[in-house]
């Protein structure tokens, strides 16, 4: 087959007829259920845990059952598997209660009494402890500090991934080996966390991904914690142990998008932006997790699609006793781009310019310096994308009226998303290895650790390999990941699967093509090599922050009811540059899903913490978009082949989300004639700014 041939998803039939098995559908003999005993306060010493009289069949697993280290190893090892003597957030795990009879487990669980000595909790960002601070500069901002200042302070709150399949793992200790099955993005993160926690030799640890019902970043680091806990439980009782959260637990206690505050000051001269000073703050919660990496993407995305000659960008991650935050599609960029795009909209208004025209003045171009003084080496067609956006939306003739007396507004966002890990992360930290195996029957097996979580990896990677070999799609075999069967090709994150892993598989396929006729098993191994145009200094954050950028140019149309101030988004127009679409249907799936999730972030998904506890705990109280909220989505793309992507493809998964909330917020500002500084744009927030 050829890359241009449209295909159907390879995993679709079993999902439609319900025969595919997610972790909760799997049968394990002698399965035990686990429930997590959690802290009810944001910070304190544990004075005592009073358990009811032990009933036969119930086992308590806690800090006393640690085998080697009470650490969940991610970038740091600061998070314990079970609370030791202190708790640091509401919901922190203290123990697992395990038993064969679920009702018995719950009955026992309900009688446990924990006593604490509360300590003062840090619930806001500010003068308290930080996990990391990062800074970079460009040009010389001090030369412009006497110019007119134009400032804004922008705020975002939590967003919950709300994958439809809740978090779930099963641990099974057999023959001195631990096996983990579960819903996950990063099997090797889990494996490494288990090696660290148990001190086992790596052959004694096997991680098997089960069909994953959505993740969006929420299953990047969090499953490592659950795997460590259930592994200890399974080792203790000698039977498989299953930990699957109920929906409320999952919403309140698992990692979310970081709340942020961003201050931007622009220095203006004769209607031109001469420089910007930007400060970004993120609330990590009590443990580092992935937050320093999220911060890096937040600050490295900070100038978006615009060339700003003089810059100072500072970022801080605060340590608090709020819920522990992590990865979510966009990974820091949605927060920054919300702030930046509102700021650009506000400057346009201040200068009396059309919001798209103002943006056009600053579009980055091929060959220019990036905000971190790398060089944009790939072709960039932002002006052409903006033209195309005007064309598909008929921008020049858009009407500001609606039939039913609603206020109508339009808002732009022109945004990048850097594909793959930040800086030289792919080469220095990830060092991906992929394999292709041709068996004696002529089937080609993809051996990578990147998972299908709904985004279409199974189909996209199989299509790349089938096209490179010019064989039918059904000759390519790619199964759920098993660390005993596949090399470590890194996490399923950072929109790297198609662009980085797809390219390595493409290279492997090109080599395999030469020997396809040989009638024996052949394995081709490919190692990641950094393209030579990438230069990066991690200490100073100077050089090429990303391998390449994908781009989106968006226009949102909203209507605001003048009485209730309810916002409805009626249309989203989007032009995308993802290199080439590996498959048009898959790309559209990402576009639609990203638009709707971004729309939720911008105008619906209100999640707040009070006293350290997340207040929204169900589908009823945390409103995500349903069918009736969906706008018309008008999308198109340009073809812009990227030399280091498979068939020219670049990253797509996160790009589709990051610009949507900013475009909608700008559209609401346009409709009500007031600036917006906070999302989601709920009626009560609009009331605040209009009164």
């Amino acid at each position: 087959m050829k890359i241009k041939d449209p295909v159907n998803r390879v995993d679709i039939q079993a999902k439609l007829n319900g025969s595919v098995k997610y972790i909760e559908d799997m049968i394990f003999e002698n399965l035990h259920y686990a429930r997590t005993l959690r802290s009810s306060i944001p910070r304190g010493k544990i004075l005592s845990v009073a358990y009811p009289d032990i009933i036969e069949g119930i086992t308590i697993v806690d800090k006393n059952d640690i085998i080697d280290k009470n650490e969940v190893s991610m970038i740091d090892t600061d998070m314990p598997i079970f609370a030791d003597s202190e708790v640091n957030y509401v919901g922190e795990p203290i123990a697992l209660i395990v038993g064969k009879d679920k009702n018995q487990v719950i009955e026992f669980f309900n009688k446990i009494i924990v006593e604490y000595e509360p300590l003062e909790a840090v619930l806001t960002m500010g003068d308290n402890a930080t996990f990391s601070k990062r800074t970079y500069t460009k040009g010389d901002l001090s030369k412009y500090s006497t110019l007119e200042e134009f400032s804004g302070h922008y705020k975002t709150t939590y967003q919950e991934q709300l994958y439809m399949e809740k978090q779930g793992v099963v641990a099974n200790y057999v023959d001195k080996r631990i096996e983990i099955y579960g819903s996950m993005q990063c099997p090797y993160y889990i494996k490494n966390a288990l090696i660290n926690a148990l001190g086992f030799n790596e052959n004694r640890i096997r991680v098997i991904q089960t069909t994953t019902g959505g993740a969006f970043g929420g299953k990047e680091d969090y499953p490592s914690l659950m795997a460590c806990q259930t592994a200890l439980a399974s080792i203790k009782i000698g039977a498989p142990v299953r930990l699957i959260f109920d929906r409320r637990e999952d919403i309140i206690f698992t990692t979310k998008r970081h709340p942020s505050e961003t201050n931007i000051t622009s220095y203006l001269e004769n209607g031109k932006i001469k420089g910007m000073k930007i400060d970004v703050e993120l609330d990590a919660g009590p443990y580092l997790g992935l937050s320093d990496v999220v911060l890096q993407r937040a600050i490295l995305s900070m100038t978006g699609a615009y060339q700003i000659e003089n810059l100072e960008v500072n970022g801080v991650v605060y340590k608090t006793n709020n819920v522990f935050n992590g990865a979510f599609r966009g990974f820091g960029a949605p927060q920054s781009l919300f702030a930046l795009e509102q700021h650009m909209t506000q400057i346009a208004k201040h200068l009396g310019k059309d919001p798209l025209d103002l943006r056009r003045e600053y579009f980055v171009q091929t060959g220019q310096l990036t905000s971190t003084n790398g060089i944009f080496h790939e072709n960039i067609y932002l002006a052409k994308m903006a033209d195309k956006l005007e064309e598909i939306s008929d921008y020049k003739n858009l009407k500001k009226e609606s039939d039913d007396g609603n206020l109508v507004g339009y808002g732009f966002a022109i945004v990048p998303h850097g594909g793959g890990f930040t800086g030289d992360g792919e080469a220095v930290h990830i060092k991906a290895v992929v394999k292709l195996k041709k068996d004696t029957e002529g089937f080609v097996h993809i051996l990578v650790s990147n998972v299908e979580m709904g985004q279409g990896a199974l189909t996209a990677l199989a299509k790349i390999v089938a096209s490179a070999l010019d064989i039918p799609l059904d000759r390519v075999v790619y199964k759920n990941t098993d660390t005993h069967a596949v090399p470590d090709s890194g996490p399923t994150a950072a929109s790297r699967t198609t662009m980085v892993i797809g390219k390595l598989l493409y290279e492997a396929a090109v080599k395999l093509r030469e020997v396809m006729d040989v009638n024996e098993e052949i394995i081709i191994t490919e190692h990641y090599k950094q393209p030579d145009y990438i230069e990066w200094d991690q200490d100073t954050l100077q050089g090429n922050a990303y391998l390449s950028y994908s781009w989106a140019a968006l226009l949102a149309r909203v209507e605001v009811d003048p009485l209730t101030l309810e916002v409805s988004c009626t249309d989203i127009y989007g032009i995308y540059d993802v290199g080439i679409p590996v498959d048009e249907k898959l790309l559209l799936g990402q576009v639609h899903g990203g638009v709707i999730q971004g729309m939720g972030y911008g105008m619906m998904e209100a999640m707040y913490s009070d006293g350290g506890k997340i207040q929204q705990n169900s589908f009823a109280s945390y409103a995500v978009p349903t069918t009736v909220d969906v706008p018309n989505i008008h999308s198109d793309w340009i073809i812009n082949e990227y030399e280091d992507g498979p068939f020219g493809a670049k990253a797509a998964g996160e790009l589709t989300l990051v610009g949507v909330a900013p475009a909608i917020a700008s559209a609401v500002a346009d409709a009500i004639g007031k600036d917006i500084y906070e999302i989601p744009v709920l009626p009560e927030k609009i009331l605040e700014v209009t009164k």
């Binding site: 159907n8 439809m164 399949e165 349903t626």
Partner: protein
């Protein structure tokens, strides 16, 4: 505990359980039909939808006392019908599935919609699927799949 008899996908079954037990658990755990999913357990997401006497219900909200002597059809049973084949074909052609967790419920809801209204307009499609949450697809391809089936009926 008592014996409760009902019809499941066309066959009589008897399970020993309590009257207050959720139909969802009996289907999934006692009878091993795991195509019906639990997304929320609170009647808010539609992942657990099945037909009870031909009408669509959230099985996480149905106690077994309401099932006695009645007819239940799950995705496993529905997947053997002609109506399913049409829905499957349209969903595949439009690519209306991503992670798949909402999908069996969405398929059941699609059929319920089309049974009531063979030619729904966009608004009717949106309103009748509003009880089914999908976090992946942004719903666009699902709407298209529904339209496609309706259009094909017309021919």
């Amino acid at each position: 505990m008592r014996n409760i008899t009902f019809t499941l996908n066309g066959e009589k079954v008897t399970v020993e359980t309590t009257l207050s037990r959720r139909l969802l658990d009996v289907i999934r755990i006692d009878l091993g039909l795991t195509g019906t999913k639990e997304g929320c357990g609170e009647g808010e997401c539609g992942a657990c939808q099945v037909y009870l006497d031909g009408k669509i219900v959230n099985s996480c909200l149905v106690p077994m006392s309401n099932v006695i002597g009645r007819e239940v059809q799950t995705i496993e049973g529905f997947a053997k019908t002609k109506a399913y084949e049409k829905i499957e074909k349209a969903y595949i052609e439009e690519g209306a599935v991503q992670c798949g967790f909402c999908t069996p419920g969405m398929v059941m809801a699609t059929n319920a919609l089309l049974k009531d209204n063979a030619h729904p307009n966009s608004k009717e499609i949106k309103e009748s699927l509003a009880g089914n949450i999908c976090r992946c697809t942004g719903y666009q391809t699902i709407f298209k799949a529904v339209k496609k089936i309706a259009d094909e009926e017309e021919k």
